[in-house]
């Protein structure tokens, strides 16, 4: 049955390509989460009424976020070639895709973080201030925990965008399922390979979505 449907699919290759995709996705999600969180916090805290209200800082952060969000991912990869070479020592393979993935994903996530933080009840922040909380306490014990479900669903959406970016990253020979589908499927006219890679990517996306929804629901005590 399987042989008939997917005559050109070699399981071993598939496992390797899946591993590469999972590697690129998980490392870039982790990187995006951290960088996006920092940028989102900066946007929120330096914004009007924020606890670090600071116009120049807010402007610079917003400019960075907007510029990198505006660049199409495929062009971002090319633009970042020198930077990737310097950072990773190579411009090929899964590792080489990471800087572009993180720099492409973080600004997007930063906006979602900013929105999530804006949803935190101002009254709760005020209550913390009235108890004599430091800014650090307000960030780590009020802002982040109170916005956690939204931060999690935000990183889920971002992770799914990153999965499709990893496929695009195939153009620099990053490996992974997208790369495999193109070079070993499309170019050799083995469309069963393309289809099989698609199915695997869809499964990965569903798994991420499921985990994200589960965590977000579990953390939401509202």
């Amino acid at each position: 049955m399987f042989e008939q449907l997917f005559p050109n699919v070699e399981m071993e290759d598939m496992v390797e390509a899946t591993n590469e995709t999972l590697y690129m996705t998980s490392v870039s999600v982790a990187g995006t989460f951290i960088l996006g969180l920092v940028l989102g916090l900066l946007l929120y805290l330096s914004g009007p009424g924020g606890i670090w209200q600071n116009k120049p800082l807010n402007w610079v952060t917003a400019a960075f976020v907007n510029v990198f969000r505006a660049i199409p991912f495929i062009i971002l990869i090319l633009l970042l070639f020198p930077f990737t070479d310097f950072l990773m020592g190579t411009i090929r393979g899964p590792g080489a895709a990471l800087p572009a993935l993180i720099i492409g994903g973080a600004p997007f996530y930063a906006r979602l973080v900013e929105i999530a933080l804006k949803e935190v009840d101002k009254g709760v922040i005020e209550a913390a201030k009235s108890m004599g909380a430091r800014n650090r306490t307000i960030i780590f014990k009020v802002l982040l925990p109170e916005s956690m479900p939204a931060l999690i669903s935000g990183i889920t959406v971002t992770a799914i965008a990153l999965i499709s970016y990893t496929a695009v990253a195939g153009v620099i020979g990053a490996g992974g399922l997208g790369d495999f589908a193109y070079f070993y499927g499309f170019q050799r006219r083995a469309f069963d390979v393309v289809a099989f890679c698609t199915i695997l990517i869809i499964i990965i996306v569903f798994v991420f979505q499921f985990i994200g929804d589960f965590l977000s629901r579990k953390l939401d005590k509202r």
């Binding site: 709760v124 009235s130 108890m131 925990p145 005590k221």
Partner: protein, 341 residues
């Protein structure tokens, strides 16, 4: 305890400057429950938020416990704030934390070690009557229970002062009363000074010792709650007093009374805050050969005694009636013969 001098707050907005608190002077004694009442926009919230500098004063001074709050640096202010508890109209609990962890939060901020935190939180949970609900999340509590958590949280660091901004305005009348009872209880047990903001005279009447009436950022009238009730000077104050004492049926009653009770004398009694004279009516009917008919009335209890008016008919021999009235006039109850609205 708290002395406020020429406190002023101007909000600068794009199109105009709003003078929310205008050269306000007030002094609040240790251990008292001080109410501030005013209509919406009077500047009450702004005023109470100035007291812990959630709002920075434009000018003026606040002295609390011999410490000049207005002059404190940011870091000293943080420490000072631990001595000033605050509760809010919308409770402002962290939904992500359990009741226990919400109450523990100010202790974490103050750097209290974990062991001590635990015993203190349990003590507070019992104090506010939430035993057994420590593991619940705020979303699982009723409004009244949420405010109890708010109160426990505000008391965690043994503050000297408790600030309440419309603490009962989001609650139904019954729950309001239970929260007010809790505040009185805390005031008596812990000797805590309470500053309370409200737009409901009922709240002032029920628990406050002294009251200030605010209008357009100024205190227009202040004093003992009973004095203000009895002799309201300003128009606003009279309107507030009417909120609790106002009796729209009185005029109708008087018409009916004048028609139907022609015998004897109809008199109006003003009870002015002394518990000793509440038995006046039974006292009079025992001493004199008269019948006392209660026709209409409304008596309210304040922290300093009963306050209200009552219309009664005194019937009997003319001389007995006269003597009875003369006797009543010797007590602290004010007597008004043949009242006409």
């Amino acid at each position: 305890m708290i002395s406020i001098k020429d406190l002023t707050k101007v909000f600068k907005t794009k199109d105009q400057d709003v003078l929310a608190v205008d050269k306000l002077n007030l002094s609040i004694d240790k251990g008292e429950i001080y109410g501030v009442i005013g209509y919406s926009g009077a500047g009450k919230s702004t005023f109470i938020r100035l007291l812990n500098r959630l709002e920075e004063p434009t000018s003026g001074e606040i002295e609390l416990n011999d410490q000049n709050l207005t002059g404190l640096s940011k870091s000293k202010l943080r420490v000072a704030r631990q001595e000033i508890g605050m509760i809010f109209q919308h409770f402002n609990l962290l939904w992500s934390r359990t009741v226990f962890d919400n109450i523990a939060f100010p202790l974490e901020i103050a750097g209290v070690p974990k062991q001590k935190r635990e015993s203190r939180v349990n003590e507070l949970i019992d104090l506010v009557g939430l035993s057994g609900r420590g593991k619940s999340y705020p979303s699982q509590l009723s409004g009244g229970q949420k405010q109890r958590v708010g109160i426990a949280r505000a008391l965690a660091n043994n503050p000297k002062v408790l600030l309440c901004d419309e603490a009962t305005s989001a609650l139904d009348p019954e729950t309001t009363d239970s929260i007010l009872d809790l505040l009185v209880d805390i005031n008596e047990k812990l000797g805590l000074t309470i500053v309370l903001i409200t737009h409901e005279m009922h709240v002032i009447r029920k628990i406050c010792h002294r009251v200030a009436v605010m209008e357009s950022g100024k205190v227009v009238e202040s004093g003992d709650v009973l004095d203000v009730f009895l002799h309201p000077k300003e128009k606003v104050t009279k309107r507030f007093v009417d909120q609790v004492m106002g009796d729209p049926d009185r005029e109708n009653s008087l018409d009916v009374i004048n028609e139907n009770y022609r015998a004897g004398e109809v008199i109006q009694l003003h009870f002015v805050g002394e518990n000793t004279n509440q038995a006046l009516i039974s006292d009079v009917s025992r001493r004199f050969a008269v019948n006392v008919n209660i026709l209409h009335g409304k008596i309210t209890q304040t922290q300093k005694g009963a306050y209200g008016t009552m219309l009664v008919q005194i019937d009997g021999e003319e001389t007995e009636v006269k003597q009875a009235i003369a006797y009543m006039k010797t007590t602290s109850v004010e007597v008004e013969v043949s009242p006409d609205v």
